[in-house]
Amino acid sequence: MAVSATEGRVLRVCALYPDLMNIYADRGNLFVLQRRCAWRGIDFQLSGSGLGESLDGGAHDIYYLGGGQDRDQQLCAEDLVAGKREPLYEAASRGAIVLGVCGGYQLLGESYTLGDDQLQGVGLLDVRTVREPGQRLIGNVAIEVHLDGDVHVLAGFENHGGRTHLGSDAAPLGRVLKGHGNDGRSGFEGARAGNTIGTYLHGPLLPKNTWFADWLISTALGIDTGALTSLDDSFEREAHTSARRAAGV
């Protein structure tokens, strides 16, 4: 057997505000990355950076920012802009993955407007979020995603009051097959600029879409997804099918 491309490799993941931005069980994403690395002999190193703590923009391969309650999200927004914006730009510019989920997606954008208040975001994604009157956008969701020339489906659950509008520099992450997406109207979901990705498919997105977990791992390591050791993914495929079926796809 050929020497695996991942032999002796290390995946370094940093979770931002892991004790505050975790409302929809975001740790499921970290579990999936960790286990799928461990099963392949990839050394998985997880660290966290909380309120007032420093962030090293050069030290990690994946930066993860989940969702939180409004109050916690506001605390984190202020802290992000004050102390973590520069390292995140550094990370993004060297091609590290920056993944924002739900509230984390909103904070990676330019701003979040709530009535007369405006929260400044990091600005890595050219998107603006506005809390408009009307129902929250809640439900199972499935989107079609084009990555590296392949077409995939991401399935999950969304629950957001904010409507996110893409600026001219932002590309959507995918096209809505079922569900609301960014604003319930445009038919687009999420945003992507290089390896910075935002999505409303909240909480445990990766357990429902382990193909995407593998894409993140391989992209972060700078190798082809096909070079990853294949795993017995029968339960993973069933879970993906289950989430797609819940969305009606």
Partner: protein
Amino acid sequence: MSALLEPKLALARVVGAVSRVHGGGGTSLPGKLLVRMDPSAIGVLAARLPRGSVVVSATNGKTTTATMAASILERAGISLVHNQAGANMAGGIASTLLTAAGRRGTIAGELGLFEVDELWLDRLAAQLHPQAIVLGNLFRDQLDRYGELDTIAERWTTAVSAGGTAARARLVCNADDPLVADLGRDRADVVYYGVEDDTLELEGMAHAADAKHCRRCGAPYTFDAIYLGHLGHYHCPSCGQRRPSPTVLARSVVLEGVRSARFRLSTPEGEADVKLALPGLYNVYNALAAAALAVALEIPLADIVTGLESTKAAFGRAETVTVGGRETRILLVKNPAGANEVLRTLALEPGSHDLLGVLNDNTADGHDVSWIWDADFELLAGRVRSATCSGTRAAELALRLKYAGVEPERITVVEDLSHALARVADDYLDEGDKPPLYVLPTYTAMLSLRELLVARGEANSSWR
């Protein structure tokens, strides 16, 4: 008013009877109809209760706390009107009152005892005018239905504040839950309850813990002890806010696996040893809530103790049934905090188990099943002989168990619950030593399970 109400009561009763004949299990249907015909019906009927009403609300433990309170109050000779089937929104409570209502403005009971859904507390308090309200705990739960925790805490604050619908009710609050304890801050007559036992301290806060920041100033609380989720002993290093001193206390707690729990109960009236026929620290908290309510109602300590000790498991809450000739416990799981306590209690049992996990995503369960990744299924790794995953989202539960460290070859997905039940009941009949079977269903799964067990002749059909 009440003359006009009578024909509506009669009509709602007929509809209820017809629905039962046609096999409708909906306990809240006649009540829903009644409330639609007369939006003030709950208030009018509740006003007939000579001793008024008391209300229990919480994320976790409402049904068990109310069951314990009923046991205590009945022992004290008080006849109750109690929504014991757990239908805890307006329709369910109206149905309960409708069943008890008699002719010419009478009602069969002295005191109303109602468990109330968290989101309905303010609206139902406006009609029930409760003399006392038990506020047990607030945990993250079904975010697609309830919204975030802060939102519910705000609604409760409005209800209990001056001018709110529950402003005149006596509060019975869990001192160990900062979100709940804060609601009594400006009141003089709150009965606080809590746990004081060093041996129960957890090493750290559960991953899914909420309420980490002071409700008053926003600074992070310092926790001096954590017992369960975010429940424990805390203070705010910034503004000085701290856990109120409870007058109803549990000390010397002994948790005896999935079977029972013991503790030393302390009340203003004295102390006593209590042995619960229900397991886990979460049921000690439920017992304290019921005891504190009884203290607020001036029930003698002896009745409190015997009432608690004679309480049996509420429907699906550590209830014991027989499946395929084997003793089986049904442990409802519906949100991370509740599930973690069930898993923690299971982990106290020696040896390995057979598991039947049933994950549904119906409206009453929450459509979003993300929460299973906040529950610590890791506690079961290495302890599971076989895990059968069932329900509408069975495959996602199976995946959760795999990533929690349960070996994939021990996990089977059987989406259909009747097939899954047949599998765990029958497939092991020929084997010698069978490990205990634990069923962990979500809410609607628990209801389906009950129907299937009745059909199999393994449970009786009464809705307790």
